[in-house]
Symmetry: D2
Subunit: 485 residues, 4 copies
C-alpha cells in the first residue's frame, strides 16, 4: 500500500485496541470522535489527503523503490542537494496546514526512521539480522505510510531506583526475558507525543549504565504496533475544545502526550534493531545523524511557526493602530530579524550539504544546530512580544456564543478594531490568548524550549561539532605571534 | 452592620439580579454554585470569616468611628506608622489564604476607596456636596463591608471613535443626560475583575479630552450597586475547574473578568463624586495617592506570591534532587534576592513614611514605585525558572482520577519523586503546570506585567517622582567643578 | 593611476597640509610617524600592498573600464551574483589583516561611493551636470584609489540652534554663499573616522528642515580633498601605544575619529552632487541602496570579527582548562550560533540577490538588515563572555617589559597557563584586556552598537522593508477565516 | 598613635622600601609623586585628613579602648544597632569623596580585620597564642591606623601544578620552613589591589587540599609589613593620567593592582594567626562573618556609586534634552528602581540586625547577600544605559588643551549642550567616556562583576543561607495538602 489517504489514516487509528486511560477512564469508541483527538485527526486527515491531491502529489510523494508506487517524500533518504530541496518543499507544504504547531507532524517521524535506516549497515557489526530488521522496518513504514510515535524519555523515578537497586529491581525500561519469539520488555516512557494517534511506536531509550559486565538489559531499540499485548497509554488532560472560533489552535492542533507503559511486552525478534550492547546504542544514534535529518524538518517547522506568530503580531499592531510607535517597530523588527536568520540558516544548511560517508547527503549540521539553539530563545521572545502588545486585551475576550446572544449588540459596538469588526477582532484576540496565555500556548512554549533537549544539551551538540575546528583559534594564534615579534 | 461574615458575603452576591452573560447564556441560579465563581467565593468566604475569628479579629478589624463596631482593617486611613504596620499585618494575614493570586482581594478596593476618601476635601472646590458624597460613600463601604470592583479601562474602540466622531456619537463612557434624580451614563468598561462577585462598582474613567468648551461629559466618577437597571456584565471563559487536586490554583483563585456595559444607567446624585470637570478628574486622582496606598497592599501581595513560587521552586528542586547543580543554585538565588528586595522595599516604605498634608500618613512612595517596576520583570522570571527546571515534566501530568483507575499501580511506580510518592509528586506538578503553562497561570503572568500599567506608565511614575530631585545631579556637578579647577 | 601601493598611500597622507589639532597642538611632521596614526597606517599600507601582490591581485582588483588598469575590487558595481561573490572574497581577504576592527577599512568607503554612483542618473532630474559630477567623482576615486572618509553627523548643538534661530544664525552645516567658482560651506561634522588618514572627504548631511520656501541651504552633498582651505580637523585622544605586545589591537587598528570643521570652504561646482533640494537628498540616498551595498561589506567584517573573538574565547578556555564546564559550553555555543547565523545571512544575501532596476544587482536587503540588527547585540554579548570567563585575570596583566626585568623569573613561574608559557599566556590576556576592558575595546563596543544608527533606526529599516509584505498576515487571515466558519 | 592624618599616610607609604616593578623598572622616588599613585594618594590623603577635621571627627572616629584616643570608626566592632548606624554614617562620609570608585577605600580592610577580630576566640582551639596574635594585630591596626591590603587569590598556575606535583614542587603559596623566628613562606598572589599604597598586607589564601596526612603547608593566615625581605610587587599598567579635566576619574581614583610575590619570606610567629590546619582556615573565615561585615561597607559603596552614575545619566539627559523620550524615562526609572532597592536593602540589613553569638551584632545577612547578587548585574546595566544614551558622543571628546588652542573658537560653537557651555559639556562627556569606554571604567565594570566572587559563588552564599529555611516550602506543602483533601 502506498501513501495513505486521510480516511485510511483515521480507520487505522480507530481500529486500535490499545488500552488508553483518560482522566481515569478507558477510552472506547472511535478516537476520531473523542474531543481529545478529533481536531488533530481532522487536521492530519487533511494532510494525508494532500498526498493524493493531483495538484500536490508530485511534490509530496516519490516512487517507492520496492514497487514504484507513490510514498511520502519525507521517507526519501537524500542522496543529492536536489533531494534535500524536494524534502524541504514537501515538509513546507504540510506546514501550510499546521503552521508549525504540530511537533509530531508525521514527516517528523518519517524522517527519523529514514535517518536510522541510513545507518543500518552499522548494525552488521552486531548481527546482519539487526541490520536487515531495521532496513525492513523502514521499508515497511515507507510503503505502508505508518504513522509513528516514539518513546525515549525514562521516568525520573528510574534515576532514583537506578542509584539504589540491583538491576532486577530497577524500574528503567529493560529486557526482562529472552524467549524464542522475542524479547520481553518491562518499563515505561514519558511524553510519547501522539502515541494515541499513531500506528506504531519506535522505542530507543538512553541506556542506563549496566551495573555488571554482562549484556546490558537497558540497551535496546525496537518498534511495535501500539496495540501489542501489555502496552498501555495514559493521557494528560486535553487542552482541546470543540469550537474553532473560541479555540482556533487547540481545536485543530492539540497533540495529546502519553505515558507509555510496557508491562512484560513480547517484542518479536524481527522488530529488534539491537539489544544488550550499550556502545551500539550510542554508535547507531550518532551514525544515524538523527538530529541533522530531523533538524531539517524542524527548521521548516520553525520558519512556518515564526511566520504565523509574526503575522499575528502584525495584525494585532494593525488593529490597535500601533504601527508608528517606536517600541512596536523595535519589537516587530526583532521578530523579522529572527525570521530572516531562520530562513538564512535553512539556505545555508542546503547550500553546505555534505556526504554522510554512506552514500547519502546531509544538510550542513552547524546551521541546523544553531537554529536549534536560537529557537528556544526566539519563540518565547515572540510570544512575549504578543503579550506586551496586547496587554489586558489578551485576557478579556468573550466567546463565539456571546456574539449570538443578547449581549451581541453592545459587543459589536465596543469591541471593534481599527480595521476589523467586533467578531473578527475578537477572533484575533482568541488566537492571541491561545498563543500567549492559554494552556495550548503554554505547552507550545515549553515544547520549543526543550524540543531537542535543554540548553546545555543543545549547546553541547554545537560545541562538540566545533571542538576540533582550530580555524578561529589559528586566526588569533597567528595574530598573537605577529604581535610578539 | 460591621465587618461581614463569609455567609453574608455569599448571600449578598447570590441575591444580585444584574444580567450576566456567560458563553452566550444569562447566568441564573446562585453564583456561589456556578463553576466560574464557586471556588473563588469559597476562598473569599473563608477570608471574610476570618474577620470574626476570635484569634484574628483584633488584627483584621478596628472600631468604626461611626458606631465602634469592628470594621475591616484595610479601610483604616493611616495616621501613623503604627497604622501602616497594622494595615500591612492585616493584609498579610489574608495573603496566607490567597498567596497573592487574588489581584482583587477585597482589601485592594477597601484601600482604594479609603485613598479617595483621604482626598475628599479637594472636592469642595467644585461642590461641598461632592465631598460629602465621597465621605459618605466611604463610610457606607466601611460600615457595610461592601465588596467593590472598579471600572476604568475604556474600550479600544473608544479611541477610534474619539478620533472621528462628535461627542454625541463617541462611544467612550459619558453623561448623556442630567435629570433631577441623577446623571444618565452610557458606555462600557473592559476588565472589571470580580465585577460579578462584588456588591458595587466604583467607576473612574480617564476622561477623553472634551471636543468643545462646555462641561466635559466624559469626566466623572461615581459608585453604584451592580444591579442598577441598565448594567450588564459579560464574562470571558472561566479557567476554573472543580477538582482541587487537578487544578489547585484555579479551583480556588480564579477571578472572573468582566466587560461592564452601562446602557443609559441613572446614577443618583448622592453617588456622584464629581462630574463634568476634567481637571478635577486628575487632581482628585493625584491627591488620593491611590497608587501609594494601593501600592502598599500590592507589595504585601507581591511578597506572598514570591514566597509561594519560591517554595514551589524549592520543592521541585528537592523532588528532582537537583540541589547541587550550579544552574539551580544560581536560579534559586535570583528568586531569593528578588524576595529580599521586595521585603526590604516594604520595610523602607514604612520606615520612610511621610505625612500627606491632610492629616494622614503615606508609606514612602519611591520604594513602592520601585517594587511596581521590579515585579513585572521578576514574576515572569520566577515562572520561567519553574519552566526551565521542570522541563517536559510540567506537561505530562496525569489527573487525580488516573490514580484511582486501573493505571494507578503503574503510575505509583513510575511517577514517584525523590522524597514524594506518586500522587504527591503529581500534585506538585499539577501546581507547576497551572503556574507555568495553564490558562490560570497565563493570566497571572499577564496580570502582573500590567498591574499598574505598562512599563512606560509605571516607569514614568517613578521618574516623575524623582524629576525634581537634584541631589544625584549635584553630586556629579560638584565633582565636575572640582575636576575643572 | 591604478590601485595604489602602500607606499603611495602613505606618501599622499603625509603630504597633506590640512590643519589637524591633537591635544591642543597642530600636528606637524609625517602622520605615518605619529603615534596616533602610525600603527593604523602600517596596517593599511600592508592592505594596499596586497593589491599588487601577484598572489592576490586577481582577487583584489579588476580592470578599470576607463583604461583597463587594475583597480580595487570594492569599487566594482555588481551586475551579477558572481560580482557579489568577487566583492565578498576581496573584502574578506582584507579582513584577514584587520579582523573586523577597522570600521573604515578602505573598502567601506569604496563601496559607499560605488553605491551612490549606481543611482547617479537620478540627479538628472535636477541637473545633468550633477549626475555627471557624481559619475566623474566615482571614476576619479576608483582610478586613483582615493582613500575617503565621510562626514554626516551634525553637532548636537545644531539641534538646539535649529529650534531657536533663523537660518542665518543656525550652526548646522549650510551653504552660506554661491559664487562662480562654487558653493561656500560653513559648519562642522562630528565623528569623521579616519579623516586624518584619508585623501578626501565625502559630505552628505541629513538636511535640516528649511524654515522657509526658498532653496534649502542645508541640503547638499559634495566631496573635497582634505586640505582645501578652511577645513580643520580636531582629534580625540588616541588609544594607540607603540608596543605590539602590550597593546596588540590598538597598536595596529586604532582609527582616529575627527571633528571636521568647514570654515567658509569654497567647494568647486564640479564637486557638488546636488544642492538646495531637500527631497533629492533623501531620494538619492534611498536610491543608492547605500545601506545594502555597504551592509554587504559590513557583514564580511562582522564575520571576521566574530571569528576573531570566538577564537579568543576558545584559546582562553583552553589555557584555563575550562572546556568541560557547562557554562563555558553554553557561552561558547552562543558565540558559535551567532557566527553560524552571520555566515548564513551572508549566504542568503547573495543567494537572494535582486536587480536594482538600474542595471545593477543588489544583495538581498533583508538578510543584511537582519545582520545589522543582530550584531549590535551579539558583539557586546561576545565581549561579555570574555569578561565573564576571564574574571580578574583580565585586569592583572603585566607588560612586555616586566618579562625582561628582574621580576621575569617569578612571572615565568606564576603566570603560565595550561598549554602556554607565561609570556604567551600573558600576551593572550593583554589581547583580552584590550577587547574587554581597555579604551580600544570600549570604542569598538560602542561603535558596533551604533554602526548604522541606534536600535530604532536600524529596526525601522527592516520594519519598513517588510511593511508592505502581507504574506505573513495573509497566512493568519486565512487561518482565522477557516476558524470562523 | 591615633587616627592618622593625610600627611602621615603619605609619609609612611613614601618611606617604604619594598621592590615594586612597573613596566620593567623598579620604582624609586616618592610614590606620592609617581603618576600611577599620586592621584589616588591625594584622594586618600584627603580622606584621612577628614578624621581630624573638627566638623567630622566625631562621626569618623571613636575612642580607642586601649588609650581613649580617636581611632577610625570602621574599626569599631558593632555591639548594637546604633553601632551599625555609626559605622554606616562614617563609611558614607568617605563615599562623598570617592563616590564608590575605591574598592579598597581604607574602611574596607579596617572592617575586614575587625571582622576577623570578632572571631578570634575560635583560634583558642588551636592555640591561645594564635588568638592573642589576631587580637593584638587588630588593636595594632586600629591604634596605628594601618592601611592594609590583602592577598588571597592564588595564581591559576597553582591549579595546574597542584594537579601534577608533589607538595614540594607545588607553586601554590605554602610554608616551606619553620624556624624559631617564624614561618618561611613561598608563593605568589594575584590582584592585591592597592598593595603598593598600603602599609601592610593581610594574607589568607584558600588552602589547597593537602596531599598527605601531615600538617597542611597550604593552610595559614598572617599579616606583615609590605617591605619585609623577600616581598616583591609587580604592577599592571596604570590607567591614570594627570589631567583632572581629561581623566576626571582615573586622575583621582585609579587603584593599582599588584601581584605580590613571597620569595622565602620569614613571617614572625606573633604575626601568624594559624598555620597547618585546613579546617581552621574555613572555620575562622566563616565565623568572622567577613562577607557580612564587609558587605555592609560594600553596600554603602554601591549606593554612592549608583547615585553618581544616576546623576551622570540625568545630566546627560538634561544636556541632550532627551527628558521626554519614553525610552529615556524607562531607562532612568530602572536606575532609580535599582537605587531604591539598594537603599531599602541597607535599611533592612540594619533593621534586621542579629547578635553574632560572640557579643557582637551583625547586619541581617540576607539583604546584604541579595545586594551582592544584584549589583554585578545592576552596575553593568547602568553603564550600558550611559552607552546607549550617549551614542557616538561618548567617543568624539576633545581634550582640555583643545579648548585653549586655535580650535577653541569652533569647539565653543559646535560642542555646546542644551544647558551647558562647550567646556562644561565636554567635561561631562569626558566623565562618561571614562565610565563607559575608557580603561578605568572597564576595570570598574569587571571589578563589580567579580567583587565577592563570580555569580555562582555569590549565588551559593545566599542559597546556602536559605537552604535550611523551610518556611516557603511549608507554605506550598500546606497548600497542596489542602488541595489533596
Amino acid at each position: 500500500m502506498p501513501a495513505k489517504t486521510g480516511m485510511q489514516y483515521c480507520e487505522r487509528i480507530n481500529a486500535q485496541t490499545v488500552p488508553c486511560w483518560y482522566k481515569g477512564e478507558l477510552l472506547n469508541g472511535k478516537r476520531s470522535e473523542h474531543i481529545a483527538f478529533s481536531g488533530l485527526m481532522k487536521t492530519q486527515r487533511f494532510m494525508y489527503d494532500m498526498q493524493s491531491d493531483p495538484q500536490l502529489a508530485e511534490r509530496l510523494t516519490y516512487a517507492s523503490p520496492s514497487d514504484g508506487k507513490p510514498v511520502g517524500m519525507s521517507f526519501l533518504p537524500p542522496t543529492s542537494s536536489d533531494d534535500l530541496r524536494k524534502r524541504r518543499e514537501a515538509m513546507t507544504l504540510w506546514t501550510q496546514v499546521h503552521h508549525g504547531f504540530l511537533g509530531r507532524s508525521p514527516d517528523y517521524m518519517n524522517t527519523a526512521i529514514m535517518a536510522f535506516y541510513t545507518a543500518a549497515d552499522l548494525l552488521n557489526e552486531l548481527s546482519p539480522q539487526y541490520a536487515e530488521n531495521l532496513r525492513n522496518y523502514y521499508a515497511y513504514c515507507r510503503d505502508h505510510d505508518i504513522t509513528l510515535s516514539h518513546a525515549f524519555i525514562q521516568p525520573h523515578a528510574s534515576k532514583i531506583s537506578g542509584q539504589l537497586d540491583a538491576t532486577e529491581d530497577a524500574i528503567a525500561a529493560k529486557i526482562v526475558e529472552r524467549t524464542e519469539e522475542g524479547l520481553v520488555i518491562n518499563g515505561a516512557f514519558m511524553m510519547a507525543t501522539q502515541a494515541a494517534t499513531s500506528d506504531e511506536i519506535f522505542v530507543y531509550p538512553s541506556p542506563s549504565p549496566a551495573p555488571f559486565d554482562d549484556e546490558n538489559p537497558f540497551a535496546f531499540s525496537f518498534a511495535v504496533p501500539n496495540d501489542l499485548p501489555g502496552i498501555t497509554l495514559v493521557c494528560r488532560d486535553t487542552y482541546a475544545a470543540s469550537s474553532d472560533y473560541n479555540y482556533p489552535l487547540s481545536s485543530k492542533y492539540e497533540e495529546m502526550d502519553n505515558i507509555v507503559i510496557f508491562d512484560h511486552v513480547l517484542v518479536p525478534h524481527e522488530r529488534i534493531f539491537f539489544a544488550g550492547d550499550e556502545q551500539m546504542s550510542s554508535a547507531l544514534f550518532s551514525a544515524s545523524n538523527f538530529h541533522i535529518h530531523a533538524g531539517h524538518q524542524v527548521l521548516c517547522r520553525y520558519i512556518a511557526k515564526t511566520e504565523f506568530v509574526l503575522g499575528t503580531i502584525q495584525l494585532l499592531t494593525d488593529t490597535l493602530d500601533l504601527k508608528s510607535e517606536a517600541h512596536v517597530v523595535e519589537k516587530t523588527a526583532r521578530a523579522l530579524a529572527g525570521l530572516e536568520s531562520l530562513k538564512a540558516l535553512a539556505i545555508a544548511a542546503e547550500a553546505g550539504a555534505v556526504p554522510d560517508g554512506r552514500g547519502y547527503v546531509l544538510p550542513a549540521p552547524k546551521p541546523l544546530m544553531a537554529a536549534n539553539l536560537l529557537y528556544p530563545r526566539l519563540y518565547p521572545e515572540l510570544i512575549e512580544i504578543l503579550q506586551l502588545l496586547s496587554s489586558s486585551g489578551m485576557i478579556m475576550v468573550p466567546q463565539e456564543e456571546d456574539f449570538q446572544s443578547g449581549a451581541a449588540e453592545s459587543l459589536n459596538i465596543y469591541l471593534r478594531g481599527t480595521d476589523l469588526n467586533s467578531p473578527e477582532r475578537n477572533a484575533l484576540f482568541r488566537l492571541i490568548w491561545e498563543l500567549g496565555a492559554g494552556s495550548f500556548g503554554g505547552r507550545q512554549t515549553q515544547f520549543e524550549r526543550f524540543f531537542f533537549g535543554n540548553t546545555i544539551t543543545v549547546s553541547n551538540r554545537l560545541y562538540t561539532a566545533s571542538a576540533q575546528d582550530q580555524s578561529q583559534r589559528e586566526r588569533v594564534r597567528q595574530f598573537l605571534a605577529r604581535s610578539a615579534k
